[in-house]
């Protein structure tokens, strides 16, 4: 996928604490200036190129979240924060689905197409710089940086266990 010239973002909060959401908001402020990449927030999911997904998917927010994906046709999804990436500190609560992975599986079972590019940015909350970085990677503005900003590699497992991945229907 080549460079997206202008990336319209729709922000979807599925019941998180709001810290990630405020950092997303901050990432849209002048210090970070994402509009130079053509990034802006839109009101309706129908206009979205990318859905910014926060929150662990509480049961109350689930039907609405499914509706958003039903009407949207995003090119990518950016899961921001520990809750979206892995269910967060309350991943095992009875009131919570557990983040974007079980949510995408649910969409798949409903027959709703899942966007092909899903990036997961952990942090609690991640800095706006990181959100800008991840959005830029998703939009094809920059390549992902091995070694990141500190120059040190996050250790990756020599023999990692593989989880199940939500698949896209073709």
């Amino acid at each position: 996928m080549g460079r997206m010239k202008s990336v319209w973002l729709y922000h979807l909060n599925t019941g998180g604490c709001n810290a990630c959401d405020i950092e997303v908001l901050a990432a849209l402020s002048p210090r970070y200036d994402p509009e130079r990449f053509g990034m802006k927030l839109v009101e309706s999911p129908r206009h979205a190129d990318v859905i910014i997904f926060t929150g662990p998917v509480t049961l109350q927010s689930l039907p609405r979240a499914i509706e958003v994906f039903r009407v949207a046709r995003p090119i990518g999804v950016l899961a921001v924060g520990a809750c979206a990436c892995g269910g967060g500190i309350w991943h095992d609560s009875a009131a919570v689905l557990g983040g974007i992975d079980p949510f995408l599986e649910l969409l798949h079972k409903q027959g709703i197409p899942v966007p092909e590019k899903v990036l997961k940015l952990p942090g609690c909350p991640p800095r706006p710089h990181a959100i800008l970085y991840a959005a830029a990677v998703l939009a094809g503005v920059i390549k992902p940086r091995r070694g990141g900003a500190s120059g040190q590699n996050i250790c990756s497992s020599p023999s990692p266990t593989r989880g199940r991945q939500a698949r896209r229907e073709t």
Binding site: T14, A19, D21, L25, A26, S29, R31, L41, E43, T58
Partner: protein, 531 residues
Amino acid sequence: MRLLTGGLKERGVEYIEATRSNYRKVVEEILADKECRLSTCLAYDGRGIDGSLHVAYIFTCHRKGRHVVVDVSVDPATATLDSLYPLTGSPACTWCEAEARDLYGIRFRGNPWRGRLVLPDGWPENLHPMRKDAPRGRPKIRVEEAARRPRPGIPLGPYHPALHEPEYFELHVIGERVVGVYYRGFFVYRGIEKLAEDRFGFMQVPFLAERICGICGYVHSTTYCMAVENALGVEPPEKAKYIRSVLLELERIHSHLLCTAAILHTVGYDTGFMHIMHAREEVMDAAELVTGNRKTYSANTPGGVRVDVDESMARAILEKAERAVSKGVKLAREYVELGEVKSRLEEVGVLSREDAWKWGALGPVARASGIDIDMRRDKPYAAYGEVEFEVPVMDEGDALARYLLRLEEVEQSLHILRQLLRSMPSTPLRSEVTDYEPLRVGLAASEAPRGECLHYVITGKGKKLWRWKIRSPTYNNLALVPELLIGNALADAPVILMSIDPCFSCTDRVIVVDAEKGSRRRVSLARLAAP
């Protein structure tokens, strides 16, 4: 077996055990003092202790710095109690009792709230998750079915493009006047109190507490630690108290500047939003310097703090805070003088002093309506007893007063920071919690950016919690919003809501119901605010 409440009086909390026959009398006596109000209530499952369910009502007499807990036992066979709503007339009472009904199955005779408050829509009827014998694991919910058949007229999603949490308003109008409000919130119900009882140790709970809210999380983690310290009689060292106060004030500044920016955005002045958010960045940098993260500081532990502040760091924090406050407040004051902004806020959403008191308003919402309350001054905690500051109060009670009041509070926060950072003591950073005794009761209150934040704990076996009740100030402030919206113009609804500074932003879409014609339409909030 019984709960251990000895020594609570000396530690600032009055605890009264009442029976179902005499509790109304006890409450009437407390409320005879006009300075006292019902703050919240909680239920707990004491069947393993004394065979009863219990409801504990908590009263705050702000100006006297007094907290009174009235504990009533409820026969589990009938699980019914007379509501205190007829006595108090307070939406805060309605809500906390409705929550106890959802979570414990206790019915309150005379409580006007119908339907669910807290639990998700598809949750099974007779499953009360906070009871000690509630089955574990996620119940079977027909959520997937509900999603498969979208109903026409239901909004796409209560999500606002400028983000925060989702929730759902239905505004009933005649012409352009709001005549009724249906509110469905708690999209953020995550089962936190239950999790804390199940798998968290009491030393891990501050990390859970901090994530209750991403804007005012630190005040929750501090209030929780203070509640445990209150239960166990632990006193944190001086430096820990100072550091807690420094971080609390940094959080207040960031939160108020955020609210100010959000209000400007709501009235359509996005330039103001951008500039204030930019000015706010320095405060976030200061927090990152001390705690290692811009938000969710992970800095508290029961007994003290996990971060240190030395002289050079204190200087750096002060410099950043000075810059952020002077810039942010100056711009905010200039922008609100603009005709198109001021006219949207002046005389909008007026909350009278009587209504504010009766409906349980807290924090800037109460102070802008003439109620002079502030936990930092009325019942000092952390290092607030060591510093001088003013508590601004205004009388107009409109959205403009609430806006300007927060700016004055930000300036006071800076004043407090100057005093704290210039006289930081040098003591250890934490006191060890050596005697963790089960079934000890503790209560702590703090002044969050939005008002009085209460945490109530009952310690349990195995270094865990037996019960934890969180009452954040938005709970009370939000409960009065439906009352406040009635009678106002539809276009003012978003502005009024934002001026309350709820710890979420309102719905992207609201449903507007024409009460005369019965028709429903779906409108975006932005369109409502600027037709």
